[in-house]
Amino acid sequence: MTNANKHASLEQTTSDIFDGEVGRSAEMLNGLEHGKFVRYALIGDAMRAEKEKSICIDITAQVAAALESEPTYNMSHNEQAPDIRAEAVNDDVKSNVISLARYKKPLAQFAIAASVCLVALVGVNNNTTQSELNNTLPSLQTMPLTGSVSPVSLSTEQPAIENAAQGLRELQQQRIGALVLEHQRQSRMAYALQQAKQLEEQKKASDVTEEQN
């Protein structure tokens, strides 16, 4: 028996123990490396999803170590805050503008995601009813009709295709979110533009009449 083979067989036994295939003996357990024991026990517990024996991961040591190596921040940015405010007061325009909008900053990313999400979900909801009512108008199919129910392990390509399709749907939803946001922003200027255009046309018309006179 070569060394490698021996190693492999030992691993096999270890795994078997925790899958409950082999009766545990003190001898065998003694032969196991401690670290490996903990790992395999965890894997076995997780796979059996045992409720009574809760999975226990002892991370206190790592956390303690991490905390120790963590650089300490002195709270100098708190001390800087009054300076910033003082600066802002000097610059009146800026200070007032910021104060109205400041509290929203941390929510920015969330807000973008939410707006995109909302459009997509609403769209999907309306989709089903709309396509039932109106067959002449195709609706965007954002959920796969088939796929998730196909038998596992028959084809390895199927999941890959599904993943790609999922990615594409996300891309499309993202694009739709961006389009809706852009439309909202641009249409804020629409009325002002319309008025400007009318003024321009009136001016042109009056110029023409002046020329005729």
């Binding site: 973008i112 309306n126 965007l140 694009r175 946001l181 641009q186 629409a190 002002a192």
Partner: protein, 316 residues
């Protein structure tokens, strides 16, 4: 004698119709006047399908300057402040910015605050019944599209104050797609204190005015062959979208009441069918025409958006 009677009858009905049009228009004119002259504190909700957005709307006059505040109360929020002829938008995603204009572009179409006669060539103003909205006596005024390619807009105007109590986008079968409903309205002699406080703040400088001529560059990139009657090009350019940094040729159209955006973009990979998404009255139609994607966004029926999107071609 009989002929005379018929003639009188004809005259009477046509006179009555003319009278009706005048008064429906008069109500809209009164509304535009009222939202600029009264001090009020109002709350309303916008209902789009299952989604609901609550807003607070304040308006007042400080000396001779109008001050207006509109705030979306849910989520990360959105605040719009108008002082005189400048509107500043405070959005959660970006730096505040200001536009030189004399009305806030919120959920209520701006044309209702202004001269509605520009709508006359493509919409009819019709008087509807009376009702009770937000605890007040209300008169229904319908802005009806002259063709089937656009939605109708119905408004309920407060009989006493001429302010808006309810509004809705209604499709051709009479179904309400998106509703705006006031839940509270108080009209006061003096503007509310909060408004005076807001008016005292300073705001960013308005963005440079975009004239129709300055933004001409993308106009000839694509030909949009069909639009519903009354829509005019207000703006066209090529720019990157804020959210996903994608490049798009952009066209903004308006008929005075609703705005429509047309985007022409590089196609996403893969074969995707064309189709529509709707949220309230807003339609997003994405058309995959092979070598480019056309997307149409606006408060228009899905069939109209589809026709616009499919009419886009490369110029020869």
């Amino acid at each position: 004698m009989k002929k005379l009677f018929i003639a009188i009858l004809c005259f009477a009905t046509s006179w009555a119709q003319a009278q009706e049009v005048v008064s429906a228009k008069q109500l809209l004119t009164n509304l535009a006047e009222a939202v600029h002259s009264r001090n009020f504190d109002a709350s309303y909700v916008v209902v789009k399908g299952k989604a609901m957005e609550p807003y607070r709307w304040l308006h007042g006059k400080k000396d001779d300057t109008e001050v207006e505040f509109l705030s979306l109360l849910n989520g990360a929020g959105l605040e719009m402040v108008r002082v005189g002829n400048q509107v500043t938008y405070f959005e959660p995603q970006s730096e505040p910015y200001a536009i030189d204009t004399d009305s806030i572009a919120g959920p209520i179409p701006e044309v209702l605050f202004k001269d509605i006669s520009i709508l006359e060539s493509h919409y009819d103003f019709v008087l509807g019944g009376k009702g009770r909205i937000a605890g007040r006596a209300a008169q229904l005024v319908r802005i009806e599209s002259k063709d089937e390619n656009k939605y109708n807009y119905w408004l309920w105007v407060d009989v006493e104050s001429s302010l808006l109590l309810k509004a809705a986008f209604v499709n051709q079968t009479g179904e309400m797609l998106e509703q705006l409903q006031l839940t509270h309205l108080s009209i006061t002699e003096e503007p509310v204190a909060q408004l005076l406080e807001i008016a005292g703040r300073d705001f960013p400088k308005a963005l440079p005015k975009v004239t129709t001529q300055a933004a001409k560059d993308a106009k000839d990139n694509w030909r949009i062959e069909w639009l519903p009657k009354g829509f005019e090009l207000l703006k066209s350019d090529r720019h990157k979208l804020d959210l996903n940094n994608e490049l798009a040729d952009y066209y903004l159209f308006s008929d005075g009441l609703v705005d429509v955006s047309v985007f022409v973009q590089r196609p996403l990979p893969g074969k995707r069918p064309s189709g529509a998404l709707t949220s309230g009255a807003t339609t997003v139609y994405v058309h995959n025409s092979g070598r480019f994607d056309v997307s149409v966004v606006g408060n228009i029926p899905a069939m109209t958006a589809k026709s616009i999107a499919e009419s886009v071609t490369r110029p020869l």
